[in-house]
């Protein structure tokens, strides 16, 4: 893919320092790190793909499959936990029948637990794509998910 090449060209000095930055830029552009991208980086930096995958999977930022159309991120920071986000997590798992880091079969929803999103005064907090939802309750979460499902059904 030409986009990957153009990202790689930004790092003319071939050294391993840049590996994380390259991966970050690719993820920013495509939303995930594909097999192709891994191979390309490995050719460019002369590091085995296994090493790159090992590094990328060490960090929680990188994902290896595309996000769903609606990417749900729910805060699992301490403050949200104290404000009982667990009930909401479980409710979402049940409703969408997926777990942390997975995508629904119809590729509509993907789900991610994240660290603190700095909405500690308004927990539990969740975002769907860019939209932020605060002070969640079970009813609220179900309404929100139903709303998105309805849009898709129409």
């Amino acid at each position: 893919m030409p986009e990957i090449d153009s990202i790689l060209e930004k790092y003319p000095i071939i050294q391993t320092d840049n590996l994380i930055s390259i991966l970050q830029e690719i993820q920013e552009k495509f939303g995930f790190i594909s097999k192709e991208a891994l191979v390309k980086i490995s050719d460019y930096l002369k590091i085995p793909t296994s090493k790159i995958y090992g590094l990328a999977s060490f960090y929680s930022q990188f994902r290896f499959e595309p996000k769903g159309k609606y990417h749900i991120r729910i805060c699992n920071g301490t403050s949200c936990h104290i404000n009982s986000n667990l009930i909401i997590l479980n409710e979402l798992y049940k409703k969408l029948s997926i777990k942390d880091g997975e995508v629904t079969k119809n590729k509509l929803f993907s789900f991610e637990e994240t660290e603190c999103m700095s909405g500690c005064g308004y927990g539990p907090v969740m975002t769907i794509n860019e939209k932020v939802y605060t002070k969640l309750t079970i009813d609220k979460v179900l309404d929100i998910i139903n709303f998105y499902m309805q849009i898709e059904n129409q």
Binding site: Q15, T16, D17, N18, L19, I20, S21, L23, Q24, G54, L55, F58, Y59, S60, Q61, F62, T78, S79, H81, I82, N83, S84, T114, E115, M117, S118, G119, C120, G121, Y122, V125, V132, T134
Partner: protein, 637 residues
Amino acid sequence: MMTVSSTQNNKDFIINNILLNESEVFTNDVSDKLSIIKRDKITFPIITVSQNSGSIITGAQNLKELIKNYLIERNIKATVIEVGSLGICSIETLISIQLPGKTKLLYKNVKEENFKAIIDGNFNNFIVEENVFCQFRNKMHEPYENIPYIDEIAFFSNQQRIILKNCGIIDANSIDEYLAFGGYKSFVKVIKHYTHEDVCNIVNQSKLRGRGGEGLYTGKKWKTALDTPGDNKYLICNAGESDPGAFMERLLLESDPHAIGARKAFIYIEWEYDLAIKRLTNAIQQAKEYGLLGHDIYKSGYSLEIIIKKGAGAYVCGEETALISNIEGKRGRPRPSNAAINGLYGQPTVVNNVETLVNIPIIIEKGAQWFNSIGTEESKGTKVFSISGKIEFVGLVEVEMGTKLRDIIYRIAGGIPNNKKFKAVHIGGPTGGTLSEEHIDTLVDYDSIMLTGASLGSAGMVVLDEDNCIIDTVKYFMNFLQKESCGICIPCREGTRRMYEILENISKRPKDDFGHLSLQRFKGIMQLENLAEVIKDTSMCGLGKKAGYPVLTTLKWFQNEYEEHIFERNCNAGVCQELRTFEINVDVCIGCTICAKKCPTSAIVGSIKNAHFIVQDKCIGCGICYNACKFNAIISK
């Protein structure tokens, strides 16, 4: 429209008259112009909108643009400025309106729905009482009547804000304003007049301790790096854990890589902190334009370059050697070496966190003696805490070292909401410790906190009330740690996982009481303390060494809660789901039989249209009936 943005004119004026002016006395001309930039004298109204990650959560992202558009629509001449956070997150979004000649008025809880009414009101001499928060004291301005000053609000009056003094007040994107408030002056002073040793000595005398986790003396660390020969020396600023946006973006740069003779400085920041990264990039750009960064700064012969490195989400990278691995493009794993001697690319490297570095310019400006006068015997200065959980005002507070916990929780942060009872306060993040009510009069400094078995850590405070379960909280931390353990030291990798499993066992109801199950469960509990101690003694880095803290402190201070879970199989707070017991309220139950049909162990008996009954011996506490009942007839205990 009047702007104080970076025009060439302004730039030269500020550099020549303020930055390079070493006396504190200004000519009339200069102070006149200064007061315009400082917004003491204004000709048009100024509206500030707080833009930080906390306020963006509440929807402030569009607020600035909306206000701007609204002002244009109504043909009002006014400037809209984006500022950081005042540290009080529970009542965001805060906006302030300053009319010429009047004091600056601060409004809370401003949203897209109500901002028009507030602004209209203020311009027409009508203050929306519901939203007004306080006014800023300024002798040159005429005050509003019956509105408290900011220093009369308990949240602010009980704090000692040195590090956060500019936060939420100055324009987060303008270097001019920062300079006008005296920024970068220490930096210029240092590179022009001080040698490397001088700076190290000043910092050493100030007894400043690292604000990261360990509380090591910063001066010592610097001295080691300075004394170690090396081709290149590096300074790394660890901004991985600090609260973004709200914090100190701009102050950061002023920190002083000069002291160790570093030519290159890195700022490590988590990739998720968009806003902070944006502002930092902007601040570095502006500093370059003003000649504060680059080659031979202000003819001092000193050069400096700052590079931002984005972290990729690994908790262990808060550890300094792990952070160095990350910057080198490797897995963020700690190594057994002293970074000050053998750090980044094998060169002497100093790693400090943001708060530590922000203290430096203040020490340089006011002297080590002054800094020594604040705080306790061994912990000098102030400390910034983020306080959250079950608390009235969530936010950032800065207090003198040695303030009582009680003062922070009740006087500044406003205590526990909804008349609930205080249960515990957890200090220092997942590797910190939990303190109970009997510690509420503990002084907050490195050593007093250490005595209780907790650690100050990154100084996050989470307050728990009676509705929270201690076991559940510790379990949460253990789950976090076992995920984040990098895997080098086996005691940490396996031990945290095992501790999590033991805690999980405690908070579960056993399937049956036969065989070895109960015995195993009990053996695990007996070993919990031992396990935590072993992990502490045999791990390499800070994460492992402190991984046992939550368990050890809670075992010590909340033993009764463990016992209650283990012996009585009861969770008083009702958080541990499987330990809940259920009863049916016979007066409400109409006998619809839904719960009985859904019960997986047939523990619910009863006939149609008659109240049902739960056989406690059969019940496994799954809670399915509780969720299924449409009449709220099932009570959870």
